[in-house]
């Protein structure tokens, strides 16, 4: 009996090892260095794909799309009704990190990935860098010809610093602005700040004159919002370009970065701002219930405030430009996303067409800016009079786009590391220590630089000096 057990065990072990070895061998062969993402042309492969939307023209070729935009079904329906050659088969595969985890899993499994996926600008480079390239360069399908249809910042974010390559088609942006409670500033007779110096003064005045809340919150875990705040002082903390794909630069020790972090450390210490974590239920609530007199944020927060429960009904909200350091401060952006074509796309050419055309029509853009509250990157929408004159009852019928559009147009785009999720996590840890525990700014930022540079070398990148 013992003997038979051993034999069975040995057989199982041998069988698994053999099959695994086979997998390993295959994987090794595919990872040819410097190769481009694979393209395919199977027009029938998606015929039986499951979709979240109802396909009206079942005989047309299908392209599968993963995206988490609000009102996506409406926009997909419009696109499908206008196309006879192709139908979008859409699935909401979770938002942000949840969807990226599914992408990672499908990449490892070498199957199951959608043809077109929504990807935020800050994680785009991780799918096109190094030996494994999973997003198709769309310039081979004429994507470089639509460059003029998008804002400079958005286009730089999808071309990743290369002249010709296009790794995704921009959809939305998050121009950095400030929303504030006019009623609170008026009540205490405090001027709405336009510079960071005024912001500090206004915060102190509000407190001195009896306001029980704070002027705002600084989020140590704000990931992209910290990049925007640092960029205002010209600090280019992350440096990566697809035209020089084996080099990575990290620099948190510039004069600008140190000044920005010292500023927020001081404001936190003086209790001018709180340092709550962002995007928690509590954080959303305290923005709308009058705990804060203002929030410096991306435009997408502007659109999503009205849905939050527990809001102060007497509030009088207004939108204005984010505070600046001086007249030379550049306009900045936080967030936004694009549609990319994966190397598992069944018919790459058709997938590229969907990525390029899904959002580039007036009816879809109309839903996108009204129902979904996305901030457009498509200049035909962005510059249209109708969009500029849109009023928002939540902001007392202010024409908020007259504030936001110039910011979006002035934004030039940033670079992000090919291992941005890791960089964000380390960045959050160090910034938390600086603003909450009063850790030394210089040595903390130096340690962050060292951690990220070490990781880059460990991953095989050359670290720029």
């Amino acid at each position: 009996m013992k003997k038979s057990v051993k034999i069975v065990a040995a057989l199982v072990a041998a069988a698994t090892t053999l099959s695994l070895a086979a997998c390993g061998g295959q994987g090794g062969a595919q990872n040819s260095k410097g190769g481009n993402a694979a393209v395919h042309s199977d027009t029938k492969a998606n015929a039986n794909a499951k979709c979240q939307n109802t396909i009206k023209k079942p005989n047309a070729e299908k392209v599968t799309v993963w995206a988490w935009y609000p009102s996506m079904e409406k926009m997909v329906d419009i696109f499908n009704s206008k196309h006879d050659d192709v139908q979008v088969c859409w699935t909401r595969a979770g938002s942000g990190q949840t969807q990226y985890q599914k992408i990672t899993t499908a990449i490892k499994a070498k199957s199951g990935l959608a043809d077109v996926v929504q990807i935020e600008y800050d994680v785009l480079s991780q799918y096109v860098s190094g030996v494994e390239k999973h997003l198709v360069d769309l310039s081979q399908y004429g994507a470089d010809n639509v460059k003029k249809d998008y804002t400079i910042g958005a286009w730089n974010s999808v071309s990743l610093g290369s002249k010709k390559s296009v790794y995704a088609i921009p959809v939305d942006l998050g121009p950095y602005v400030m929303i504030y409670r006019k009623d609170i500033f008026d009540k205490y007779g405090v001027k709405v700040p336009t510079t960071w110096d005024e912001y500090e003064q206004a915060g102190k005045q509000l407190r001195e004159r009896g306001f029980s809340g704070h002027i705002g919150n600084y989020e140590p875990s704000g990931n992209g919002s910290n990049i925007a705040l640092l960029a205002q002082k010209g600090a280019k903390v992350y440096d990566y370009s697809a035209s020089n794909p084996d080099k990575v630069g990290v620099n948190f020790e510039s004069k600008g970065a140190k000044q920005v972090m010292s500023y927020w450390q001081k404001l936190a210490k003086e209790d001018v701002v709180t340092t709550q974590d962002a995007y928690t239920a509590e954080w959303y609530k305290s923005i709308v219930d009058g705990t804060y007199a203002s929030a410096v944020c991306a435009s997408w927060l502007v659109g999503s405030l009205r849905g939050i429960s527990g809001a102060d009904t007497s509030a009088n909200w207004k939108v204005t430009r984010a505070p600046v350091w001086d007249s030379s401060t550049p306009q900045v952006n936080f967030g936004g996303s694009s549609l990319a074509v994966t190397d598992q796309a069944k018919d790459t050419k058709m997938a590229a067409k969907v990525a390029m055309e899904l959002f580039s029509s007036d009816p879809v853009q109309q839903i996108s800016v009204t129902d979904a509250a996305l901030f457009p990157t498509w200049t035909k929408k962005l510059e249209s009079q109708g969009f500029m004159d849109m009023t928002d009852s939540f902001y007392g019928d202010q024409k908020i786009n007259q504030v936001i559009v110039p910011v979006a147009k002035a934004y030039k785009g940033y670079e992000f590391l090919p291992f941005q999720p890791y960089a964000y996590d380390e960045q959050t840890k160090v910034i938390t220590k600086i603003v909450r525990n009063g850790a030394d700014v210089n040595s903390s930022l130096a340690s962050l630089d060292k951690t990220l540079r070490d990781y880059a070398s460990q991953q095989g990148f050359t670290v720029k000096k």
Binding site: G24, P220, S221, D277, K429, T432, Q459
Partner: protein, 304 residues
């Protein structure tokens, strides 16, 4: 109608018995092999390779293990769960034992209702339980702000760097104590009551009976409960993962080794190193369990 078939005399060869034995264990055996043994072997195989963005996947032998046991993040996480274990295991065990002994001593309607109520948190899915506590701990939405205000006290910071340890200990204890209590309680039911009678005749008080007779009689169950609790705490994952949504900067993504393995695999695209971390954690859990079982050999009845 007619029973033509002549019943065959049962052949009692060991080969025949064996076949039936295999037949009945097969459903378990297959699932055990497919869902436990094979993934384990696969994880080990994966852990012998290293993937880096620029070099791709290369065979690296045990280099990942050398890295893991020198990785400050992994070691910190390990240290954290060891501290949790040192606090959580005794706390849960003492509460569970105390409750079991009390409920065993009073046998009325109240006791059976209490038993159910104490067990109830275990019936709540862990994720739901943690979400619920996340709301209770919230300064603005939880009830504690108003409760503490009644006594003129400030709200305790449940989700702050200083408060998070206690908050998590509380969630886990709330969830699991009832379950352990039920195991110990049912063990108490199998102790023959003659023992208590003779003890009473010898003049033992109820407390003496509880501590000197009941507790030693169920020592094997106590050991089992401790091992459950030990393994569960070393693999700490769901509760901090859920509470992280409420306090991302207080609970870093690599708070416990399991969370670190998850972050490595799905956020940092380091599947191989993640497998190493998981395997290393498994190894440590096995070592802890074996050491504990050795130490309690006399109590557990598991001598081998």
């Amino acid at each position: 109608m007619q029973n033509k078939a002549v019943p065959k005399p049962m052949k009692k060869t060991s080969g025949h018995d064996n076949r039936w034995g295999w037949f009945f264990t097969a459903p378990f055996g297959i699932i055990f092999i497919v869902f436990l043994v094979v993934p384990l072997i696969y994880a080990f195989y994966v852990s012998l390779f290293t993937y880096t963005q620029m070099r791709g996947t290369v065979f690296s032998g045990f280099a990942n293990y050398a890295r893991a046991f020198r990785d400050p993040i992994f070691l910190q996480g390990m240290g954290r769960v060891v501290v949790y274990t040192l606090v959580l295991v005794p706390v849960q065990l003492i509460f569970a034992l105390l409750l079991a002994l009390v409920l065993d001593a009073i046998k009325n309607k109240f006791a059976s209702v209490s038993r159910l109520v104490i067990f109830l948190p275990y019936a709540v899915p862990v994720v739901i339980g943690a979400l619920m506590w996340g709301f209770l701990y919230s300064k603005q939405m939880g009830p504690f702000t108003s409760i503490f205000a009644l006594f003129g006290l400030p709200t305790p910071g449940f989700l702050t760097p200083n408060g998070i340890f206690g908050s998590l200990v509380n969630v886990v204890t709330w969830q699991w104590t009832g379950y352990y209590m039920v195991i110990l309680y049912s063990a108490l039911q199998s102790v023959p009551s003659e023992l208590y009678e003779s003890a009473r005749i010898d003049g033992a008080s109820e407390i003496t009976i509880a501590l000197r007779i009941k507790t030693p009689m169920i020592s094997s169950s106590i050991v089992m409960v401790t091992i459950f609790s030990l393994i569960g705490t070393l693999q700490f994952y769901t509760e901090p993962m859920v509470l992280r949504n409420n306090a991302p900067s207080v609970i870093p993504p690599e708070y416990t080794p399991n969370m670190y393995a998850q972050a490595l695999a799905f956020n940092y695209n380091q599947l191989n190193y993640s497998a190493t971390v998981s395997f290393a954690l498994g190894l440590i859990v096995v070592i802890f369990s074996i050491v504990f079982m050795r130490l309690t050999r006399n109590q557990s009845g598991l001598e081998d």
